[in-house]
Each structure stands twice: as C-alpha cells, then as structure tokens.
C-alpha cells in the first residue's frame, strides 16, 4: 500500500523538481505560498499589460502619420493580447478573471508604476517603446525560464511579439533626433522624464525586496531586481549614444573593474508614492479601467442573451 505523503515530504519533492529545472504544471501539488506568489506576480503582470494600453492609447488618434498610427495601434493591440495570455495562464491556478479584476479595482493587486506617468508629447511614444518595453523585455526574457509552466510558455509567446515594440519606439526617437532642434529637444525631454521611472520598473533593491529570496529559491524569478536593472542600464547607454541622446544621470559611468556601468540612486520616495496610488495618473488609470468595464457591460449582456435565445431555439427544434 502506498502511504500518503506528509506536507513536508510533498514540499521536498516539489523543491527537488524545481532544483532539477523541471517545470511545475497546473495539476501538480504545490505549496500554498508558491501558488499565491506566482498568482500575485502573474496577475500583476497581466494588469500591467492592460493598464499599459492607456498611456499609448492616448496618442493613437494623434500619431503624426498614418503609418505611425497603424504601428501604434498594432502595438497596443498586442499588449491587450499579452494581458489575455497572462490572465488565462493565471487562471490555471484556480483564481477567476473576475476575482483578479476585483483585486485590481479595490487596490489589492498592483500594476507596474510606470503606467501612472502621463504621455504628454509624441516623443513619449518613442521613449515608452524603447525604454519601457525594453525594460519589460529584459524582465520577460529572464521569466521564460520561470518554474511555473503556463507562465513560462506565456513568456515565450510574448517575447516573440515584443521585439517590434522596442524597435518601433527606438525608431521614433531616431527619426526625431535627425530632425529639427525642436524635435531633438522633444526626444531628449521624453528620455529625461521616462528614464528614472523605467529604472524603477525592476522594483526595490534586492536587500529591500520582500519576495526576492523565496522567489529565487522557487525559481519564480530567475534573476534579481538589481541584476536585471544592471542589464537594462548596460544595454541602454550605447543605444542612447548612437542617436545622440543623453541619459539624465550624472553618476552614470563605465566601471572597468565590474565590467558594468555604475549609475545613480533612484528616488525611492517617488517610487513609494506612485506605488501607493499618488502618481500623476493613478486615479485616472483606474477610473478609466472601471468605466471601460461598465460601458462594455451591455455587450457582454447581449452576448449572453443571444446565446440563451439560440439555445431555446435549438431546444424547440429538438422537441
């Protein structure tokens, strides 16, 4: 007869599987805290994709050319799709999309603080694609190796689609930097405003981060916040230089010994304020999300009513 395993034995088996670089699949036993931790990260990621459509959506009707408008529309459409991939993957953990949505609306779930900054000029579309998607890609490439199977597969799919997002953003910046003084200033101004918030996207320092140690042990995260941030800085410096942009950090300089760029300290007070709801656009973003859901209700109701009608007709025909 097989003995029922104790919680401790199950946990040991679970960790052994993770140590062996095997993925955890939805029907596997997993510690409750693992489930909660992955769910928190995935739902936060999903919410970020969806809320992230707002700052860019702001410029769709005002893109400078029809071509740029098509590109921006395609990008924002992708982000909505990424939200869907991630919500579906998160639902395999047994939490419904409605629950995740509610948690977003009443503030229990978060989304990336970057999307609480306003997009005031066209160059912001360049800065967002280049830096915000650039930072997201650094994170997502690393997460392709996350231990939860559905999350990992979602990341692989998303990374394939992301590649054009960063390039189109950089391309916007490049074209502006070849333009008039006014256009160059606009590009530099967007970089000035979006650089530090992009750096914040990787979260608090490893020493301050509440979840890092456990997340690394369970391989939910594969690289720490600080490692990922360093990678982002190292790749961005050259990219800025090539088109003549200056990264707004007086402490930024190459460190021969480390083989990396040194950089200045993030304004953590600002980070805290924005995460806690006091950024420039927090209220606007949430109000818009709730409004979109309410105003779309009649469409969902109509679909349900139509399905019901079809079923009744089929029943009648069968009778």
């Amino acid at each position: 007869m097989t003995r029922v395993l104790t919680e401790a034995e199950l946990e040991e088996k679970f960790q052994a599987r993770i140590d062996a670089e095997e993925k955890i699949e939805p029907k596997d036993w997993m510690p409750d805290k693992y489930r909660k931790n992955v769910l928190r990260q995935m739902s936060q990621h999903a919410h970020s994709e969806v809320i992230g459509m707002q700052p860019e959506g702001n410029w769709i009707t005002r893109a400078p050319t029809l071509h740029r408008k098509c590109i921006l529309l395609a990008k924002v459409q992708d982000e909505g799709g990424h939200g869907l991939y991630l919500y579906s993957a998160a639902e395999t953990l047994g939490t419904s999309r409605e629950e995740m949505n509610d948690a977003l609306h009443d503030g229990r779930a978060k989304y990336a603080s970057i999307f609480n900054y306003p997009t005031v000029t066209w160059a912001d579309m360049g800065a967002i694609g280049w830096l915000v998607d650039g930072a997201a890609i650094v994170n997502q490439v690393s997460l392709q190796r996350t231990s939860y199977g559905p999350y990992s597969r979602g990341m692989v799919r998303i990374c394939k689609e992301e590649s054009f997002h960063q390039r189109q953003g950089y391309h916007i910046m490049m074209v502006l930097m070849r333009g008039s003084d006014e256009q160059k200033n606009m590009a530099q101004d967007a970089l000035n405003r979006f650089w530090w918030p992009s750096m914040m996207m990787f979260g608090p320092h490893d020493t301050e981060s509440a979840h890092t140690a456990q997340s690394m042990k369970w391989k939910i995260k594969r690289q720490t916040n600080d490692e990922l941030r360093q990678k982002f800085v190292d790749q961005s410096v050259k990219q800025a230089e090539v088109i003549g942009l200056k990264i707004p950090d007086p402490d930024l300089k190459w460190n021969e010994e480390r083989g990396h760029y040194d950089f200045g300290e993030i304004d953590w007070e600002e980070f805290k304020q924005v995460v806690n709801g006091n950024g420039l656009c927090n209220r606007q973003r949430m109000a818009h999300h709730i409004k979109a859901q309410e105003e779309g209700k009649w469409v969902r109701d109509a679909i349900t009513a139509y399905e019901e009608k079809k079923r009744q007709r089929a029943d009648q025909a069968a009778a």
Binding site: E25, A74, S163, F164, Q168, K238
Partner: protein
C-alpha cells in the same frame, strides 16, 4: 450512425514545460478508457509525461477554405515584424 465507440483526440506533453501537442485519435467508451488506450497506443516509448483526451465532437475548427477572410487582414501589416524597422548596425541586436 455507426455504433462505434466515441472518437477522442489525444494530446501529449512530451516534457514538463512544453505545450501538449496533438498526436492522433482513438475510439473509447468514455474519457477514462480513452486515457488508458492513449497510454497504450501513444506512449509506449515514454513519449509523454501527461496526456489530454478530448471528445472529437467538442473540437470546433476553422476551415482552411475560410482562410482568406479569416487570416487575410494580417498579410498587409509588415510593421508587426521586428525586421520592418531599420536601425543603426551598432544597436541592431535590439
């Protein structure tokens, strides 16, 4: 209609972390039996670590003939691809 047993489609996950892939179909009386048959006929050489069986009649498929109207709008959007954007060589690995 024939009195054949129901048709099931079989999906295998060859390794943890990978998607289930369609490998074929079989007849079975019910889902449990379909799982057992699938194990017997599709995983004799440890081809899979997880099996899904789905009633074939539950699968809704697009028709290839619909292709044009179904997929066509995507062909004229080259800007959805990374290669559409020409960047300086030094940063082209982006």
């Amino acid at each position: 209609m024939s009195d054949h047993m129901k048709l099931y489609e079989v999906f295998l996950r060859s390794k943890r972390g990978l998607d289930h892939k369609h490998v074929g179909s079989l007849h079975a009386e019910d889902a449990q039996q379909a799982l057992e048959y699938a194990r017997d006929v599709y995983t004799r050489r440890s081809e899979g670590v997880s099996i899904w069986v789905v009633n074939s009649s539950d699968i809704v498929a697009s028709q290839e003939d619909d292709c044009e109207s179904f997929y066509d709008p995507h062909d004229d959007k080259p800007y959805r691809h990374a290669t559409h954007y020409q960047l300086p060589d030094e940063v082209n690995n982006m």
